[in-house]
Symmetry: C2
Subunit: 450 residues, 2 copies
Amino acid sequence: MLSERNKILVESIKRLLRRDATTHLRKIVNKTHAADLSVVFRSLSLSNQQKLFDMIKDTEQKGVLFSELDEDIFSNLIEGIDVDEIVEILEHMPTDDVADIIGQMPKEKSDTILEKMEKEGSEEVEGLLRYGDDTAGGIMVPDFIALKEDITAKEAIESLQKEHLDVEMPFYLYVVDDHGRLVGVSSLRQLVVVKPETPLKQFMTTDVFSVQTGMDQEEVAKIVARYDILAVPVVDGTNRLVGIVTVDDIIDIIREEATKDILKMAGAGEEFIETQSVFKSTRSRLPWLFASCVGGIIAFFIIGRFEGSLSKLAYLAAFIPVIMNMGGNVGTQSSSIVVRGLATGQLNVRDIWSVVFKELSVGFILGTVYGFLIGVVAQFRYDTGALALSVGLSVICSMSVAALLGSMVPMAFARINIDPAVASSPFVTTSVDIISVFFYFEIATTLLGI
Amino acid sequence: MLSERNKILVESIKRLLRRDATTHLRKIVNKTHAADLSVVFRSLSLSNQQKLFDMIKDTEQKGVLFSELDEDIFSNLIEGIDVDEIVEILEHMPTDDVADIIGQMPKEKSDTILEKMEKEGSEEVEGLLRYGDDTAGGIMVPDFIALKEDITAKEAIESLQKEHLDVEMPFYLYVVDDHGRLVGVSSLRQLVVVKPETPLKQFMTTDVFSVQTGMDQEEVAKIVARYDILAVPVVDGTNRLVGIVTVDDIIDIIREEATKDILKMAGAGEEFIETQSVFKSTRSRLPWLFASCVGGIIAFFIIGRFEGSLSKLAYLAAFIPVIMNMGGNVGTQSSSIVVRGLATGQLNVRDIWSVVFKELSVGFILGTVYGFLIGVVAQFRYDTGALALSVGLSVICSMSVAALLGSMVPMAFARINIDPAVASSPFVTTSVDIISVFFYFEIATTLLGI
């Protein structure tokens, strides 16, 4: 439904652009959420993008659009926008989004902009730029409510009504000591239930989750998802509260991380590349293919060793694809399950042996089922018992080994802190291919006596 | 770090259980977040699980534990708990979680429990049970703040202080008309900035996103993620406000959906099965393997047709694995990119031709690179120009066709509303295998004149 709505939107806007129906366009553009506009921009030429952009009246909406646009569309678009206008837009945006955007710009441009920004804002942005993009420090916002532990509930309510009206998400009230160190957390609800003169430190929750600025964003996302919280406070090395990470940014991270894992498992790079150039896309996909190419060449030398047997019984070759396929697919199943289980925390590296044993059992059962089936087909086609038996046994071996490697390799990689998503697939599929072919020819030549 | 902490927790608890150090255990159990306890429970025997469960003092914590436990652990655990205690725990839980849990129980048990629950609570739960598990109605909570459009800001603040203290997440104040129909939304912040006597309808935002009870949870998640909102109101067919879906449930959905997609692409079922039995795991993985088995058997009959050529030039067989592999892997890359792009909205079914053309270009370039490389190896090994050329050309064909099918099939499936994640992988890999083998033997027998 969402995509249906966007489709209609894109088509209406294109039609209005062709007709140059400015009044109508202006109305639509200002009524549409910037997140939807960013989708429309993907289908438009740069000049039409600029036209629509200039029609946006609300500076805040321009800001939201800035943070929603794809990286390449954004960098082309801002080429045509006056620096002063950019600065004005950035000053209406949340600091974490500004830092992301500034980080994408070429150095000279970002320096000019930071210089022109108001001092307070640019200092906050530069503060955030110090942290790695993918860390808690890089994704936090410095807008949060921090109250001193000594004030009363009444004073807290008063200060909220006066000072903190512009805070993005005012649901957690953090409590700090005189040095700005995080000591507790409270909520609007707590403030209104206690007696007005109670000091915060008497009723605040002291058991508060926090993360360090340097923590990886994936870890932060896991914590927020695990404990169902809406924001997590970020502290520096001395436990001083420096920002919060909010749940809306966590959603983006969880989706990004899932995308990365899917692409890495398929050996298709890390970033989503379909919106990038053919050249970039090709380059990011070359490496894994090289691993599988080397595997294929090794298989080729192994088969070459059995050339004599093959010239006697040429039909042996006909079973190579099915044996390789069955092994490869079970291996992919096992490694996908284990990689995803490790990523979501449903599997734990400690459980390596129980997981591997279970996968091996599954692989063996599946191997027996399909080994029997494929053996029957072989018997029906060539009517040679020894051949049917060789093929069936090879399928069992190949599928068992594949399930074993498919589960053990990601587990082992995770244990030595190598990302299982990126390392497992090339390694598993390549090894399974080589082992399958080797087993098959060894078994067949032995049983058939050639 | 999170898994590191859990590891230490599990080990301490196991050690204390062996030593029967009840006082110490009681302290740890009551200090630990239920989400962490649920992880600990995975490594414990049922009797130890019961022992720990009985040590939990806080009824609410028991409730959180109920909703965090894996399905099979939960259903074993509640066997040993008194119905009256279960009822008491459920009455302290959010209604959506209760509905989930009741839905998992055997019919007689859930009926007994619903009967024993207080009327108001059980009616809410039964209300939720009417909606499909995976719809907005099934995941919403019926606790929200709805204010009449005619009341003033002052009256709204007063009613918040009196009536709505128990609402889970009080950041959106929904505004309804006399029939309970959703007409707008406001916020605490708006209430305190306007003059106290202003009626809500004068300053509320009338442009409010809402979803229908029957909307698929994946769609709901997309909307919440797209517009960075913390909760989305759910309305029935007549636009009456019946509940809200909050962002913490959305996070779980986004992770689940990513897991489903990953497993479906690998043909490994839909649900994460590693915590389930070997039998269930085997059964969910059989179907896709059957598709690939049939593909392998077709490839086997194709190769069988070239038996004559193979007995003359047995080494032809040696190149089967590398040609199949290269095609299969490019196909997996393309379909993973497209399936994920469609799931996240980064690709749109409308763009089918530009995406397919781009993938085809990438496949052709990669094919040329690796075709050349593998051809050189063939030339080096067998010193037959026609063979090297056949192998190189086959790799190019196989990789181009694979990229073409890998991108076109998911796009086409999405267009006719078949889930691209579940349908693409078996179809693509099987077709690519058959086509690769066929091309290879056709090209080789023609060029080598056998």
